[in-house]
Every structure is written in C-alpha cells, then in structure tokens.
C-alpha cells in the first residue's frame, strides 16, 4: 500500500473536493480511479491511497514501482459519483479493505455535521488495514473493526436488518457489495456503493455482434460494428458523450435507454437498475439483439 500526496507542479491551488470524490490517475494508455482522502479543506494537496494488487491492472504497479516523490504524473477529474447526501439524519458506512478511503472522508464530514453514523470496516488483518489509528483517534465511539485474522466477520445481513440508518454508503470488494445489494433488496434506494475493480474487457470482434442504436431524441440511427463500442459509434456521428475510465466503472458515459435488451457489462449499475432497463454505460455495454433505443 502506498500513500500519494499530490500537488500542482507550479504551486497552484487544486480543485476543492467533497467526500466520495475521486480522481483518475493516468498511467500509459489507461486511467485508474482512486478516492480522495485527507483534508478536503487543504487547497494545495490531494491525497490518495493505493493498494498493490497482484491481479490488478498496471495502475497499481505503476504507482508502486515507477512513481516516486518528485515524479510528475497526470490525473483526470476530479469528480464525484458517490456523493454524500447530507440531508439524512443517520448513516451506516461500510468499508472493505482499501474501500476505507472514501468512507473515512464521509465519516469526517458526518462527524463535522453532527449526524448519527457508524463505521464498519473489514480487512485481512489489523496490520494491513489502512487508517486504523486515525479512525480510532477520530471516530472511536462509532467504529467497528472486523479483521479476518482475528476471526471477526462483518455480520452484513444482521447489521443491515437491525440498523435504522436512513442511508448506507459502502465501498469495497465486489463480493461485499454484492452481498450488501442482496441484503438491501427491499429498499435499494438506501444503498450507495462505489466499485473499485473492473473486469476490464477488450472487445474481441470475433465474439461480438454488430447492432443498431436508435437515438430517439435526435432521431438518428447509428450502427455499432462488432469491433466498436457504442461510445465510439456515437462519437463518430458527433454526439457529445462524456467519458472517462472507458472500462465501465466510473459512470461518466451513462446514457438513458428508451427500450431494447441491453447486455450490461459495467460495474456501475446495481442489479435493480439493470432490471429497470433505463440506462446503460456506452463504453462497454452492448445490445443483445439487433437494435436498442437510447433517449438522447
């Protein structure tokens, strides 16, 4: 794990941020998303924590092995797709592993606002879990730790079942978030999650089909070839679809779906959102059939 503190090379101020915000660190041809932690009031610095992942894409290796103090790197953003709704009274904050970074920023903010909140944080062992001393210092009476090495397991369904928190914010590995989605399936609107891993897929034209995308607001039909993403096809006809990670985790390239059977391949939409079938991520998701309809 490394902690990176970033500053403007010319000593300028960096953008202000709110809990849940992230930046993308650009490494070669791709960008990887990291939540901001640290002090949102510090206008000169941004801070991220990066876990080394063996199976991860080059991003973490790059930050661990190539980057040193003094290196110049590029970031994109910042943006917030995991915005804290400050109007509720009570909150459940759940983190797994490095997912603690946005959660700690939220805990700080909720404490500052005087809201009711608890933090539930699981990981392999205390020694590998970031920010424990900081959490103990600032949030001790709200903190619940679940290091697996101490045989402590996060009792998800009981926790969610018993809690009367109005909002749940969670960030961590896929299985944790999947389990949470299931545990909250009765009121999915309570749950706000942030994914960190993507099963990054490169298109294999031999396995893909071509299809038509009908743009209902612009009344245009665009063909998407097997070796093309919807995003690329839309851009080719001049549509301004913003995009970012282009690997289905950031949610920037979302478009509204009017109709059609979507093959969702992103990590942004929840299971219930997929069933609703009213949006898709154009950078990776495709059509199952010959035609889909987008409300743009």
């Amino acid at each position: 794990m490394v902690r990176l503190v970033l500053e403007d090379p010319r000593g300028r101020k960096l953008p202000r941020w709110t809990p849940g915000a992230h930046i993308d660190v650009v490494a070669g041809d791709f960008a990887r998303k990291y939540s901001l932690c640290g002090d949102p009031e510090d206008p000169d610095r941004l801070q991220v924590s990066v876990l080394r992942e063996a199976a991860g894409r080059g991003g973490s290796t790059f930050l661990h092995e190539t980057v040193k103090a003094g290196s110049l790197i590029h970031i994109r953003g910042l943006k917030n797709h995991f915005r804290l709704d400050e109007t509720a009274e009570s909150y459940l904050l759940i983190a797994g592993g490095i997912g603690i970074t946005p959660i700690i920023a939220m805990a700080d903010r909720l404490k500052h606002l005087g809201k009711d909140y608890t933090v539930h944080y699981c990981g392999r062992a205390r020694g590998t879990m970031a920010f424990i001393s900081r959490l103990e210092r600032d949030h001790s009476d709200r903190l619940h730790l679940y290091p697996a090495s101490e045989k402590k397991r996060l009792p998800l369904s009981t926790l969610v079942g018993k809690s009367n928190a109005e909002q749940i914010y969670a960030c961590g590995p896929e299985r944790l978030l999947d389990a949470l989605e299931e545990a909250t399936s009765d009121n999915p609107e309570k749950l706000h999650i942030e994914h960190f891993t993507a099963t990054g897929a490169v298109l294999d034209p031999a396995k893909e089909i071509g299809f038509d995308v009908v743009l209902t607001d612009s009344e245009l039909t665009v063909h998407v070839a097997p070796d093309q993403t919807v995003l690329q096809a839309l851009r080719a006809v001049g549509a301004d679809i913003p995009s970012d990670c282009e690997e289905g985790i950031c949610g920037t390239c979302e478009v509204p779906v009017a109709a059609g059977d979507i093959d969702h391949r992103d990590k942004v939409l929840t299971a219930s959102e997929r069933v609703e079938n009213c949006r898709m991520m154009t950078c990776c998701s495709r059509a199952r059939g010959e035609k889909i309809f987008l409300a743009i």
Binding site: R3, E7, P9, S71, H74, K79, S218, E219, D244
Partner: protein, 485 residues
C-alpha cells in the same frame, strides 16, 4: 408596473388582493425576488449565472411579471426542457421579445419579406425531417474542408494587427471572421459576399433586446435588403449547385425531397444560417479571450501546452457562453419540478445558470480547463435541436486560440476597460475587447518558424486525454506506519 412594456402579456395575472403580491398564471404568489427579476438590468447583463444564484438555491422555476415569462435556472430542469421539445416547443425561439413596431413591419412588407420557420423554431415532425435531410454538411468529414480556409483567414487577420501592439479584437477580427466563415459555410459565391456582409447587421438587439423604433426600422431596412439579395443569390446558386456549401447541398437535396426542403425554407435558410453562425461564434470567442486573459495562469498553461486548447474552449463555453438563455413555449399544462406550468406559458431557460449549477458541476464557479465533464454544458442547447454547428464553432474557436497563444503569448487585456453588452436576454459578448502586447517580444521576430508550426485538433468534442492535469508527487509513502494525516 402597468406601463411596463411587457405587462400587456396575456399571462400576466392581477394582484392578489390579500397579500399585495402579484399572482403567477398558475395561481401562486410571485415572490419579491421573482418580481424584481429584470434581465435587461445590469446584474443579469454583467453576470447571468450570478444574477440567478438565488433562484438556483431557492426558487428554481419562477414567474417573472416584468417579462411575462417563466424563468428556469437549474441544470436538470433546463436540460429536460431542451430535451422535451414536444411539450416545450421551440416555436418562440426567435420571436421578437419586444413587439415589432408598425413602422418596422411596413418596412419589411415593402421588401416582400417572408421569413419562415427554419430549423431552430420548427416543430416536429417537420423539424426532424429537415434536420436529417440537411445534416450531411455538418459531419466531421465535411467540416474538415473548412479548416484550411479558417487557418488562413485567422493568419491573415492576425498579420494585419501583429505589429500594432494594440487592438480591439472584436472589431478587428472576432466579429469579421465568423461572418466570413458563415458565408463560406453556406457556399455563397465570392462576388456576393460583400453585399450580404453589408446587410448582415446585428440581429441581437432586434430579437432579444429592447430596440427603439428607429433601431427596428434600420434593422428592417437591412433585413429587407438582405432578403431580396438572398433571393437573387439563391437563383444564381441554383444554376450550378455543385461543390461544398450548405445552401448548395440543400438545393441538391430539394430535388430529392421537395416537400422537406421547400423553396420558402431555402430562402429563409440563408439569413437564419448567418444569424445562427455569426454572432454566436463571435461573442463566444470574445468571451473566451476575455476570460482566459483575466485568468493569466490558465492562459500561460495553454501557451505552454496547446493540447489543452480543445478542453479550454469547452470550459469557456461552459463558464461564459455566448448564448445565455433560450426560449420554449408549453404546448400543454405541465410541471417543471414542483411548479405547475399552464399551457401557453413562455419559458426563458437560462443555460448560463444551468452551467454554473453545483448540482451538476463540481466547483462550478472555478474556471478549470482540466474539468472533464465540461462538455455537459448547455450553451449549445440539447436534444433534437442541439446546435448543428457546434463542431464548426469549436473548430473556429480552437483555431483562434491556437493562433494567439502561438504568435502572441504575451497578449494582455488593456487594463481598466469597461466592457459593454447589448442589453438583451440571450446573446452575450462584449461589444469591444481591447488587448495590447509588446510587439518587440513577438516570438516570430526571433523564430519565423513559429508561423509554420500550426497545431491542429481532431474535430468534435474534446477527447478525454485532452483534459489530463499534471501533478507532482509531493510525498510517496510505502506502507505508512501511521495513517494519521
């Protein structure tokens, strides 16, 4: 209020006897702030997003008795109204916000003036049939043909002023080039350009402002002359409609789809095309130079790294676009958020305010050329009517900015100038923009090679990698023992 020019509007309700407050057409009382709102006053003229901050926070949809319009200020609402052009028809988009005097009407009649609905104010299904029939000229491949012409025009105009040390960028360049580009884009024959140029006078005050009767008549004279001359040019183009140019393309298309591309549309299209392409781009460019020169660090970043230009142009269109507001009319009883909107209500949707809505943009009042969702701005509208010329406008603005940052990086604003605006609801840009520079420092005096090192950009919206922000790693800590900071 009774003698206010707009109080004759049919939507204006009487006073509520109990509260002393005016009542909006939906029966709700008008708040004091809403009653005060006047887009012709200086607060809105100087800074539209700031003038509507209260509305974004407290009353995102309100009725303005002074205007007889509903005003909409939040991003999500403005976008939804743009999107839904069945319920919110664009039919009033070009209506004169100040009624046309009889004298001006008579003047127009003398010229057989018969401007019809074009694209921007046409309803479905006619609009979309026409838009699709005429889209070809705006595809990225077609736009490429205009690039060399724009490069050389920009070079030529810059050559004229480069050794002067001072210039009014609006009068000496930014007003002129977009008009020439518009005429070229339409495919107007070279020999007719000067005449049409003479009659292409400012439509802004006439459509969205409060022109005096004399101004209305003067505009009517020019418009009448334009109309007649445009008819002759159209006939000439019909003789040989081959080659590039939107008008020529439309003439060819008419053979295929005579009911979609009608004679009347072709005649109207020439003037509508110039209005759409000229002042919008001229103002947007002037706003851009002003904004960037007021933010010196940003200007210097761009001089150091021209790859930032596409995103910088986009951020300027967001931050200080040339179209501040647009109009729609409700075709049925409907709602916007919690507000009931009766059929026939006229809406002024303030895209400049939407572009500064912190519900959509992080730190919206910061000019951040590294912002990566800046293309979400609504300065080009949205949906079925979204500006067809957006990629041409972007190309023009990028070429201007590229040329100035390369040839005059030392450019600065003349200090203490007062910027003036033509008072109106919609088109926004300074009437003059005085800049100065030390000619002795012109980089091309040392290195004439600069003149050749023109950078070009892919046509279209900025690509994601255009907005990457450089940062230095101030601290790199592996497995930090104390995670305390």
């Amino acid at each position: 209020m009774a003698d206010h020019p707009f109080s004759g509007s049919s939507h204006l309700a009487g006073h509520c006897p109990m509260s002393g407050l005016a009542v909006a057409p939906n029966g709700c009382p008008v708040s004091p702030k809403a009653a005060d709102f006047d887009p012709f006053e200086s607060a809105y003229q100087l800074d539209p997003p700031e003038a509507l901050r209260w509305s974004r926070d407290q009353e995102p949809v309100f009725y303005s008795p002074k205007l007889g319009y509903w005003v909409v200020s939040r991003y999500a609402d403005v976008k939804e109204i743009f999107r839904n052009n069945q319920i919110f028809s664009p039919a009033i988009a070009l209506e004169k916000i100040t009624p046309v005097s009889q004298k001006a009407q008579d003047t127009l009649k003398r010229y057989d003036y018969a401007m019809n609905r074009t694209l921007v104010n046409e309803d479905e299904p006619a609009h979309m049939e026409r838009r699709r029939a005429l889209m070809e000229s705006f595809t990225l491949d077609e736009l490429k043909h205009h690039e060399p012409m724009l490069q050389s025009l920009t070079q030529e105009y810059l050559d004229r002023i480069i050794d002067n040390g001072e210039a009014d960028l609006v009068d000496e360049m930014l007003w002129e080039i977009p008009l020439t580009v518009a005429l070229n884009f339409l495919g107007i024959p070279e020999e007719d350009m000067d005449t049409l140029r003479k009659y292409s006078i400012a439509h802004t005050v006439n459509t969205w402002g409060r022109p005096s009767t004399e101004e209305q008549v003067a505009v009517a004279e020019a418009v009448g002359n334009f109309w007649q001359y445009a008819g002759k040019v159209l006939e000439k183009m019909r003789q040989d409609p081959s080659g590039h140019g939107w008008m020529k393309y439309a003439i060819r298309k008419q053979k295929e789809l005579p009911e979609v591309v009608t004679d009347s549309y072709l005649h109207s299209m020439m003037m509508a095309g110039i209005v759409a392409a000229h002042e919008t781009t001229a103002h947007a460019s002037a706003n851009m130079f002003r904004l960037l020169l007021e933010n010196r660090e940003v200007w210097e970043d761009i001089c150091d790294n021209p790859t930032l230009i596409p995103n910088a142009v986009e951020e300027c269109l967001r931050y200080s676009g040339s179209v501040a507001a647009w109009r729609r009319i409700a075709t049925t009883d409907t709602r916007i958020g919690d507000t009931e909107i009766p059929e026939g209500s006229k809406l002024l949707i303030i895209s400049a305010s939407a572009n500064h809505d912190d519900r959509h943009f992080e730190n919206p009042d910061d000019l951040d050329i590294y912002r990566d969702n800046t293309t979400d701005h609504l300065t080009f509208g949205y949906g079925a009517h979204q500006c067809m010329g957006k990629n041409l406008a972007r190309m023009e603005m990028r070429i201007f900015l590229e040329a100035f940052t390369r040839r005059l990086p030392q450019l600065e604003l003349v200090p203490n100038q007062t910027f003036t605006f033509v008072p109106n609801t919609s088109f926004r840009g300074p009437e003059h923009l005085w800049v100065r520079w030390d000619q002795g420092q012109n980089p091309e005096r040392r290195d004439p090679g600069i003149l050749e090192r023109i950078r070009t950009f892919t046509i279209g919206a900025p690509a994601p990698h255009d907005s990457a922000r450089p940062v230095r790693v101030a601290m790199w800590q592996s497995r930090p023992k104390v995670w305390s900071a």
